[in-house]
Amino acid sequence: MGYRVKLHVWGNYACFTRPEMKAERVSYDVITPSAARGILEAIYWKPAIHWVVDRIHVLEEIKFESIRRNETESKISAVHVKSAMAGKTKHLRKVVVEERQQRMTLMLKNVGYVIEAHFEMTVAAGGRDSPQKHYDIFIRRARLGQMFQQPYFGCREFPAHFRLIGNEESMPASRYAGTGERDLQWMLWDLDYKAGMTAKFFRAVMKDGIIEVPDLGKEGR
């Protein structure tokens, strides 16, 4: 637990899609631990480490905006790809005007969070994988603005800007400081890859803008 990181992330829009409303996407009120983990992994990740989100600070007011877009309705079929690879004359493209669905997204607007997290070593860690090394690489990348790919808030059209918060540095102010408890209901925690990709949920409670995230990966199965 010694290697904790604090990352300030912000952006214009975000959509942390609720699994129960994913055809016409509706975002959760705040970032999910799994989306926060995705942001950390977009900056730095190796199979030897596993990011665990400890706490999420909600900085900006929770506000929604809707947008409706033309989307396609189907995915690319492996069967068609195979037969085209085998040289068969096959219709291998998608005609968007014929396969169109208009879908709405209820997204968050003007978001800002601080993600507090640490990482744990996994079974893939070898003899040369010291926690110090991975921590240093992450800190260097976050400081210099380097990343594997641009992190995003739920969907790739909503980029996340990031900044490392140093150990001595104070936390950015939250709009919810001093507002007491707010129940955000059941939220997706993450997918448990060890337990066959089962989705795990937790009861998110925001207290003065801070959500404590339980480590459900540790609890039993």
């Binding site: 069967v79 790809v81 085209a84 085998a86 004359t89 493209r93 998608k94 995003y152």
Partner: protein, 287 residues
């Protein structure tokens, strides 16, 4: 083999005059507007559509530059017969839904990336991978927003012909929504790491820049009015991970409205790019 691609950020400005750059299906095809601030919005997918159309026009189905997500039905599917087959056996097992193993799904996605420019660039959701089934492309587009709040005007138009036979009327009326003038800005990203994964090369990147510069030239329509690309600014890093935070680079680009509101002309905007003390390893290119 073309050179690999390093990380890039890019910003482009485009304007619209007397047109509707992107209709909102939720609002009777009025231009998209941020309800809170009044700024105009053009979605990422709207702009990506134009990139695909441009590549389809200039490359004309050239090997390796096909467009998967197409707007027109494919006229000539025959050339696919010429495709080199990577696999020779097993073409009659068409009922099979999933590739048998990871190696095969890798082959399938690789083949799609190599043949389709849009998949290599923007990625695609394919059922060809076993658990997550998608290719992330290196190029990330975001919503474009207008620099100033926009004003959307509704024009009523008439047609001197009627739909129904034997109608009493002599003409019918319709509606058009236009924005008199607006300048939009879009910020985007190119990930060098994801470029490696999809085989997106420096040549592909050059084609992307050309597509951005020309996409509106091939996209004329009665509803779009006059649209034009005004400026494309690229921040090129000399490493794959990049050398500076993206937001700090984007903040170097300032747009100023020199006329006060309302603006009706591009020359009333001043785009100022701060080129001083660029972070080491970052090159600013204006195209």
């Amino acid at each position: 083999m073309s050179k690999p691609v390093n990380r890039c950020e890019f910003t482009f400005f485009f304007d619209v005059r007397n047109g509707n750059p992107n209709g909102d299906p939720d609002a009777g095809n009025m231009p998209r507007i941020d309800p809170e601030t009044g700024h105009g919005i053009v979605t990422d997918v709207c702009l990506k559509r134009k990139i695909r159309n441009y590549v389809e026009i200039v490359k004309g189905g050239e090997e390796g530059y096909h467009i998967y997500v197409s707007e027109v039905a494919a006229l000539n599917e025959k050339h696919r017969q010429a495709y080199r087959a990577l696999r020779e056996e097993d073409t009659d097992k068409l009922k099979e839904l999933k590739p048998s193993d990871k190696a095969e799904s890798y082959k399938l996605t690789r083949w799609m990336c190599n043949n389709y420019y849009d998949i290599r660039t923007f990625g695609a959701v394919m059922t060809t991978k076993i658990n997550c089934g998608q290719v992330r492309g290196p190029v990330q587009f975001c919503f474009a927003r207008s620099v100033d709040p926009v004003f959307s005007q509704e024009l009523t138009i008439t047609r001197r012909a009627v739909t129904q036979e034997h109608s009493e009327k002599e003409r019918e009326m319709g509606r058009k929504h236009v924005i008199p003038y607006a300048l939009y800005r879009m910020d985007g990203y190119v990930s060098g790491n994801l470029a490696q994964q999809t085989n997106f090369t420096a040549d592909d990147l050059e084609l992307l820049w050309a597509a951005i510069q020309n996409m509106f030239e091939y996209d004329r329509s009665a509803s779009h009015g006059q649209m034009a690309l005004r400026k494309l600014i690229v921040f090129e890093h000399n490493t794959i991970l990049g050398n500076a935070p993206a937001h700090q680079l984007f903040e170097r680009i300032h747009v100023e409205n020199t006329a006060g509101f309302p603006v009706r002309d591009y020359k009333d905007y001043l785009i100022d790019i701060d080129r001083t003390d660029l972070p080491a390893g970052v090159t600013l290119i204006e195209k």
